[in-house]
């Protein structure tokens, strides 16, 4: 069983408990051993860079250092923002010896040292690359037949990385959804921004950004939107009411973590995946007579 240094990030302890639950269940079912690193701290999200970028790297570096100490080679984050911060800090530590030296000076206070030698990966990449589509297909004993899923990539899972397979039109999420028997739908907003923390700092702008995503998914007759990031999930799910109030729309569409959908296909009971209401393919909903 392959082991990973697992960094859940703050959201998975609060707003995204359902992501945490479903991640653990799915990992177990797929024989991935996620070992949560001890005493990790917040990655700083996007709010740190406007104040002090050096400190932002240091915060992330502490988590990387704790992970390096375990001897494991792969650092896995389920949150796209945490992933992006860890990915870049790790890369900069390798590339910039002065930065690494100074950050290690600070890390001494917690008896830690970082080299920047980890493979930093997002959870969805680990599942796709280390488990593989064939294995997923085999294990998906309860394929999500007829369920139209809008795969929502968001931003920081893909960008600003340019070494990605296809930063403008990635396909890996669609492939994963097909492997669990769902029907991934084609829509143009799949990597358009959800507004992220603008939901707090510029509510109007973020609601408009969320509205565009909801509209695109609903226009394409999605039964559910699937996400890979707590921030995206919360913006798309929790703020639907506010979008409806602001724009006079009547959107109501379930938003789920990709791990919850995978869990359903792997035949894990809904409550263990943090699912309160299972999405049903529209085609199967009986029309009231």
């Amino acid at each position: 069983m392959k082991q990973y240094a697992y960094y859940p990030g703050c959201s998975l302890e609060s707003l995204a408990k359902d992501y945490q639950l479903s991640t653990k269940e799915v990992a177990r079912a797929l024989d991935l051993e996620l070992k949560e690193i001890e005493d990790w701290n917040c990655c700083g999200a996007t709010a740190y860079f406007p104040v002090d970028e050096m400190l932002a790297y240091t915060l992330v570096a502490r988590n990387l250092a704790i992970a390096e100490k375990t001897g494991l080679t792969d650092f896995v984050a389920p949150c796209s923002a945490c992933f992006k911060n860890a990915y870049y800090t790790n890369a900069y530590l390798k590339k910039d010896p002065d930065l690494a030296e100074h950050i290690n000076f600070a890390l001494e206070e917690d008896h830690l040292h970082v080299d920047g030698k980890l493979n930093v990966r997002h959870l969805i990449e680990v599942i796709l690359e280390d488990v593989g589509l064939e294995e997923i297909k085999t294990k998906a004993v309860h394929p999500l037949k007829g369920l139209r899923v809008a795969p929502y990539y968001g931003c920081q899972l893909l960008r600003p990385r340019k070494d990605h397979e296809n930063v403008e039109n990635p396909r890996f999420f669609e492939e994963l959804l097909s492997a669990i028997g769902a029907e991934p739908l084609e829509y143009s907003s799949k990597a358009r921004c959800c507004g992220a923390s603008l939901i707090i700092t510029n509510r109007r702008a973020a609601l408009e950004m969320v509205r565009i995503l909801l509209k695109d998914a609903i226009d394409h007759e999605a039964d559910v939107i699937a996400t890979t990031c707590p921030m995206c999930n919360v913006n798309l799910e929790v703020y639907q009411n506010q979008v409806n109030q602001e724009f006079g729309t009547q959107y109501s569409i379930p938003v789920m973590y990709f791990t919850q959908l995978m869990g359903m296909a792997l035949n894990i009971p809904s409550r263990r995946l943090g699912i309160t209401k299972e999405p049903v393919p529209k085609a199967q909903v009986p029309v009231p007579s």
Partner: protein, 140 residues
Amino acid sequence: MNAKKKLIIIDDDPDFVSGIKSVLEKAEYNVDAAYNPKDGFQALQAGKYDLLLLDIMMGRGAEGVALARKIRKDPKLREMPVLIITGVREQIAFLFPGQAVHPNFVDVDELVEKPIEPKLLLEKVSALLKAAEEKKLQPQ
């Protein structure tokens, strides 16, 4: 009179730099300036300076601290007097409100806070230069 002393300012704020540069030049110092730590360190390595006036908040963050530490580790630059002139308390005051710039993060010779009076600046500079001369004359 001795040859003019050569000073270098590393500070990202062009207005501040031009202000103290003119004060120092009127007092017969030769003054160079660099506006980011990377250029600053290159200049330090290339030219021979008698004193460094160093800012803290630059570039990505408190890079002046990192630079001061790097200088103290460099065998050629280790002995250079470093005067830190910082507005860090103003710049990120909210983080530790009312608390002092703490003195022991790195071995620098003096630390003063912006804004700095021209008279005080000149006093500090000449005192540091004098101390450095005396140190040089002392048998190791």
